[in-house]
């Protein structure tokens, strides 16, 4: 008999929109960020001066997507605890059940689906931890990025009031010694270059994360045969009736 499949809702409309907004922002941030780090294409010297705003446009786009990213992160942080759909923090508490599930999902991956002893209907502990790593890296990018940004607001002035640079200094100045520690600079002489190096390195870590994320979602779709890849488009996946 053909197995019957049941549709399971996994992502709300908002979560899916957020996913794609973040994905587009990330691609834009990497493209423009690499340009800011090293301007890899040239402005035509023969262009009329009025057209030239190349670095400034790159920085504008970079900061714009960063701000969208930042606001999205705040919403996601809220949903971690107060989502009415699924509260991710529940999968992060190291309870015996969560720890067991974490390693079962990991074993499922390394044994290439030869061992599958967990419920793949719902969001699992392994993926939630994996996403937490991503969110922590994003928060780090947010804070180091704003630290690098705030020095451009010279004299502590900004178009939306003096509270903004004041607040940015307040919440991001600590990233200087922490970056110094991460880079291996002796504590008292940590400088903004350490923040810059850390911001740059974390970009590569995030790109690595994205590679694995895409690979792993495709892998699940292929090996589990439950249509996982459509979660992020249609919001649901399908599981065999006897399992659900």
């Amino acid at each position: 008999m053909k197995p019957k499949y049941k549709q399971v809702k996994r992502m709300t409309t908002f979560m899916r929109i957020n996913h794609w907004v973040v994905a587009i922002c990330m691609v834009a941030a990497v493209i423009t960020g690499l340009y800011i780090g090293h301007p890899y294409y040239q402005t035509y010297i023969a262009d009329p001066a009025v057209d030239k705003y190349v670095m400034a446009w790159n920085r504008w786009i970079h900061f714009m997507v960063a701000i969208i990213f930042d606001v999205s992160s705040i919403v996601i942080a809220y949903l971690y605890f107060f989502s009415r759909f699924e509260k991710p923090y529940k999968k992060l508490i190291p309870t015996p059940a969560n720890i067991k599930e974490f390693f079962e999902v990991l074993l499922n991956l390394v044994t290439l689906n030869r061992r599958k002893k967990f419920d793949s209907t719902h969001s699992d502990s392994f993926n939630t931890v994996f996403f937490l790593v991503f969110h922590l890296m994003l928060v780090w990018m947010l804070l180091t990025g704003l630290q690098l940004y705030v020095h451009g607001l010279a004299s502590g002035l900004s178009s939306i009031g003096n509270w903004w640079p004041w607040m940015l200094h307040l919440v991001t100045d600590w990233t200087v010694p922490v970056s110094g520690w991460l880079i291996g600079t002796a504590a008292p002489t940590a400088s903004i270059m350490d923040v810059r190096i850390s911001h740059h390195l974390t970009m590569w870590l995030i790109i690595t994360w994205v590679l694995f994320h895409v690979y792993y979602q495709v892998w699940r779709t292929v090996f589990w045969e439950e249509g996982d890849i459509s979660i992020v488009v249609g919001g649901s996946k399908f599981v065999k009736e006897d399992q659900a």
Partner: protein
């Protein structure tokens, strides 16, 4: 609750680069009264050495009173004070010979001293540094040997707890500090610094070496050189980094000290915010080319001829806090980016390793490729040897076990 909020605020803001250029009329009114009272009091004191009259000296060098007042208003601006302070700053400059200064040199090239001495023609900043009550300075004093040491002892005794100690050069800490010794008794630089700083009113570290270790502390730092801030505790310390430190900033710190009796507001790296509160980038004359994406691609190309931005040939202006782009060097004659060279971040910690390469950070090998030829070869070799040893061990143990099995006729 209020002081708790204040405490949290202090925790997060006291060490930031944030600068407050306008603190309100009430603040400046109080400050003005305090500074005025202090200047009047200083005027009543007689300087120890009064051979050099500042007015005569300025006149000899062809600086008119009007030029001097123009300079005073510029310094007032640099110190981020309202223009009403200009007469006080001018007075403070004339009273600079009331500040006894001891200047010592450690692991360095005397470049900061040279920057003051060898300017193209002494300008007001340099002239003023000539007339400070300089009690001891190895480079320019005529005494030597025991005579010089006696001079130092005299100065330390006479101005106990009152002198400003200027330190130029890093302190080597390797082999118990014996990489650098000074004087007839071969006192290590570390002991020298500790002894002289003990009774200083404040210590001013001048140049990149004294502040953050500079070139002597660059990787692999064989002498384990460090800056003054790494080892000196419990003393007011001001860092004036850059290679060489700008005489304008030294004068600014001394004038601030004479004017207010206090050290200026400092950032997290103990640099005065009036000079190091902005990045080079924020006030760079080539900034428009940066925004336009017009970069010098290689030395001497069309972009270089058109004064394009030097970011792609390694300018570190966006990460470097200093006022070069405003005050420049040698009284505004020129500065590195002005000559088409790009900033090497010489006023930042570890600049030799982290800033001074001729490409953007994204392209740089912060350390030598692979971390150094011999170093990685040695480490790789040791690792390979260990792996081979473990492999041989396992193989040998397995062979022994197998051999025993064979003997017992199992295979």
């Amino acid at each position: 609750m209020a002081d708790r909020i204040e405490g949290v605020k202090k925790l997060f803001t006291s060490k930031s680069a944030r600068i407050d250029t306008n603190r309100g009329d009430a603040h400046y009114e109080t400050l003005f009264q305090a500074c005025h009272a202090r200047i009047e009091e200083l005027k009543t004191q007689t300087p120890r050495e009064d051979r050099l009259k500042i007015d005569d000296l300025l006149e000899d060098q062809g600086v008119s009173r009007r030029d001097f007042m123009k300079w005073a208003s510029a310094v007032t601006g640099m110190l981020m004070l309202p223009s009403s302070f200009t007469p006080l700053v001018a007075d403070a400059a004339l009273l600079m010979n009331r500040a006894p200064v001891i200047w010592i040199e450690l692991s360095d090239c005397a470049g900061n001293t040279e920057a003051i001495l060898r300017s193209d023609g002494p300008k007001i900043d340099e002239i003023l540094l000539d007339i400070i009550s300089l009690e001891f300075n190895e480079t320019i004093m005529s005494a030597s040997g025991h005579q010089a040491e006696k001079q130092l002892e005299d100065a330390m005794h006479t101005f106990k707890d009152k002198y400003l100690l200027f330190v130029e050069g890093a302190i080597p800490m390797g082999i118990d500090g014996n990489y650098g010794t000074i004087g007839a008794h071969a006192e290590t630089f570390y002991d020298h610094l500790m002894r002289i700083s003990k009774h200083a009113a404040a210590v001013v570290a001048v140049g990149s070496c004294a502040t953050f270790g500079g070139v002597p502390a660059a990787a692999p730092n064989p002498t384990q050189a460090v800056g003054v801030m790494d080892i000196l505790k419990g003393k007011p310390l001001i860092n004036i980094p850059a290679c060489p430190a700008n005489p304008a900033n030294m004068v600014g710190v001394i004038i601030h000290y004479i004017l207010t009796g206090q050290i200026p507001e400092l950032d997290s790296l103990l640099r005065p915010k009036f000079a190091f509160g902005y990045r080079i980038h924020d006030n760079c004359e080539r900034r428009a080319h940066f925004d336009a994406g017009e970069f010098v691609e290689e030395w001497g190309d069309e972009g270089a001829k058109n004064n394009f931005c030097l970011y792609k040939v390694g300018c570190k202006g966006p990460m470097t806090f200093n006022n070069c782009s405003i005050v420049r060097y040698n009284e505004g004659v020129n500065w590195p980016i002005g000559v088409g060279r790009g900033c090497i971040g010489c006023s930042e910690p570890d600049f030799w390793d982290k800033y001074a390469y001729e490409r953007p950070m994204a392209d740089a090998n912060i350390k030598a490729p692979t971390g150094g030829v011999e170093k990685t070869v040695d480490e790789f070799g040791l690792g390979l040897l260990t792996a081979a040893g473990i492999g041989i061990g396992i193989h040998a143990a397995a062979s022994l076990a197998a051999g025993k099995k064979e003997e017992s006729g199992e295979s």
